[in-house]
Every structure is written in C-alpha cells, then in structure tokens.
Amino acid sequence: MTLRNAVSALIVPALLMCAAPASAGNTLIAKGQAVAVAKSALTILPDREWNKMGARPGRNSETWTLDGDGLNDVTFYGGIETDRTLFREVSKRVKPLPRFSATMLLTDIPALLENSYRIALATPLMTIESVAPCAFVGAKGVTFTYSFTRPNEDVRRKGEGYAAIIAGKLYMATFEAPDIYYYDRDIAGFRALVASARIGAPPQS
C-alpha cells in the first residue's frame, strides 16, 4: 500500500464521520394539506406554509422551519422505539446519548431531551423550566418548556415540547427559537401544528 493510499484509507472515512449530515433537499410543506411526518404514523395539518429541512436530526425525526433552524425550529419525533436515541450519536463510545425506554414515565421525557441536548449540542446551558400534564395526539401526554444556549453563541433560546408514549413508542414535537422576538412570534404557529397532530389517518382540511 502506497503512502497516498494509506492516507486515503485513514483520513477519508474520518472526515466523512466528521462531516455534517447532507443538508440539501429542503422542501415546501403546503398549507392545508395533511402530511405524515418523521417516517411515522404521526400526521400534521399545517395552517400555513413551512419548510421541511432536508437534514434529519435522527432516524425517526424531522425538522420544519420558517426562517432557518437557528431562528425557528420545529422538530417531530415519530415513534421512537425502546433503546433508541432521539438524535444521531455524536460520539457513541465517548459520549453516548441517552436512550428511550418504553418503561419510562411521561415525566422522564423532558429529562431525556435535556440530557440528549447537553451531549448533542455540547452545552451545559440547557434547563427544563416547567413540566405539566396535557393531551397530545389524543393520548395522555406531557408538555414542558426549556431554555438553552449553544456553545460559541450568545443567543438564548426558549423551547416548548409535547410528548406522549403510545404502544411503547415515543411521539414528541418541540419548538425552539431565540427568546428575542422569534419565540413569541412563532409559538402560536407551533401550537397550531401540535393541535392538528394525529396518529394514523391524516385529518383533512
């Protein structure tokens, strides 16, 4: 094996592992048309246009945005199974992400998200601020609020989430945006998406 071949064999896979997920392929989510999200039975009926990001945070999740995920980020988690993580592992051996379990209580879900964010975003500045019972996708669920700051950024972000465990799988929707202007402007749009969420046959407008 020549030196160049050896370098190719070692460095290229390493760089590929470091590379961010491919980000092309953002698509339009049309107003008034129900869509199945996150490769699952979870369906949403949007009351306005959204953009679906081409890059998925994990196998059973997808992100919608109005102006980019740094300004408004709605993420749907569709049927996360036992022993699965919320996001792709960032470093499975050194910093493994916590895994969902069907035996978790609903009140454990906000902590699962908090611990996943602390690892995936490498930030200690993630806090769950409130947790309360609610109905989500027609089932008993939990709603929670949180705040966090990404490393190397000074913008404080606020978030809100809704989650339910149905047939042993986790269904969840979260919204986060900078606490200046964007959170207050777009939270009502997120709550409208959550109110339209169903499991199974999509609702029609």
Binding site: S8, P21, D67, G70, L71, P178, I180
Partner: protein, 249 residues
C-alpha cells in the same frame, strides 16, 4: 479502484461541507434605497472574535488578538464613516438591564445573518419560502427600536466579525487531507454588516462573506476588512481618492 473510491468519497465530503464555501453575497429588501444625507444611522459596537482554529476545527479565542482587532477595526470604522453618505452616530454602551438587551440584539444579528447566508444566499440549501423571486424577508422584530431610544436614528448598522487562524495542527491536517483529495479549510474569516430599519426591525441590507480578506490584527488588514464589509453600503459615497483616480482616467 481505491483511488476511484477515495475520489468519490472526497466529492461527497465536499458536497456535505459545501456551505463552508459560500461566496460573498449581499442582499437588499426589495425597493429599499437610501439617499445620501437623508437619515441618521446608529452604529452598534461590532461583535469581534479572534482566535485560533484547533486541529479538530474548534474555535479557541485569543484575548490579545481580539484586542488588536478591536483597536484596528475601530480606527478603520471611524475613518470609513465619512463615506457612508449619511450621519453616523456611534451607539453608547448602556449599563444595567439595557446592556443585556443590547447584547441580545447583537447576538441575534449574527444568528440572523447566518440564516440569510445559509438559507437564502447559498443556492444549495435555500429554503423554498425564501426562493421566491425578489424575496428578502428577514427581521429582528420591531423591539429592536429599544436599543436606539432617544438617538433619533432610523437605521442601525450591525457588524459581526470572527477570525479563526488555523493552528499548526490544523495546517498539518489540511496537508494530509489534500493527499487524500479532500479539501479541509484551515482558518475561517467571517464578516457580516447589516442595516436594520429601526421602525420595523426589518433587515434592509446585508453584506456577508464567510471568506473575508485582511488580517484584522494589523492596521492595513483591518482597513481592508472594513472596506469589504461596507462595500456597496446603501447611500455611500466613494472616498475622495477613488473619485480623483476615476476622474483622472
């Protein structure tokens, strides 16, 4: 065979990280113009971060370099204000709760500019709702007026500058990666200048470049950087030297 595979993988790597190679771009809100001498512009203290880029690509701030850049860019901006075409007022640093509001908007500007670059300027990752012809709809919200209370200004000029100089380890990685036909950047030099309408909060002009020139740790480099940042600033007038050169030709 392996060479072919390496080349294919390298292309994939380049495609995956292509956002890092966005070209200099600027954008205007449709219909926005600024006549010289028609308004007052509030210059917000620039956000300046200077440091090294580690082998793994992490930013490592350097206080000495940052201070040099602050001094040099500050002096270059003072000189450049004469050519902006309108009266420029330098914002006073507030104290107390107002300082947090001020810092919040400065931070929001960099995130907003990142979004414009990533999701409007860069064609490969454009959002469908931002693709529409003539669309340039970006805002910081009307609350931004709070930072200019009592100044009588109609617009705020935000400037963000981040320079990461490649460490020795990063440069080595760049060389080794090149041997595998993979392009790795050593150093990053991002600069954004944006004009915000203080009445609506809308971003009316943005000049953003993720590969700026000029070493901001030197006087000449900082002058070059400021010229790039304020290139085509709405209502700006070219420096007297340039006018003389042009008329002499």
């Amino acid at each position: 065979m392996r060479h072919t595979l390496s080349a294919a993988m390298a292309v994939l790597c380049l495609l995956a990280s292509s956002t890092a190679f966005a070209q200099e771009k600027s954008g205007n809100k449709p219909g926005f113009t600024l006549r010289p001498g028609s308004t007052r512009i509030l210059l917000i203290r620039p956000t300046i971060k200077v440091g090294a880029q580690s082998t793994g690509g992490m930013f490592e701030p350097n206080a000495d370099w940052t201070q040099q850049a602050r001094d040099n860019l500050g002096a270059a901006l003072d000189a450049a204000q004469q050519q902006l075409g309108n009266q420029v007022i330098v914002a006073q640093e507030p104290i107390g709760p107002a300082a947090a509001t001020f810092a919040g908007y400065r931070a929001l500007f960099s995130v907003l500019a990142d979004s414009v670059i990533e999701y409007q300027f860069f064609p490969g990752n454009r959002l469908p709702t931002k693709k529409r012809k003539g669309a340039f709809e970006w805002t910081m919200g009307p609350g931004v007026a709070e930072i200019a209370k009592g100044t009588g200004c109609d617009y705020a000029l935000f400037i963000f500058d981040e320079d990461q100089y490649g460490s020795t380890g990063r440069k080595f990685l760049q060389v080794f990666a090149a041997m595998a036909y993979v392009q790795v950047k050593s150093g990053e030099h991002r600069g954004y200048a944006g004009l915000v309408d203080l009445h609506s909060g809308d971003l009316v002009w943005l000049n953003a470049d993720q590969a700026m020139g000029g070493d901001v740790r030197t006087v000449e480099g900082a002058q070059k950087r400021v010229r790039q940042l304020l290139e085509n600033f709405p209502g700006s007038t070219p420096p007297a030297a340039q006018i003389a050169t042009a008329s002499g030709q």
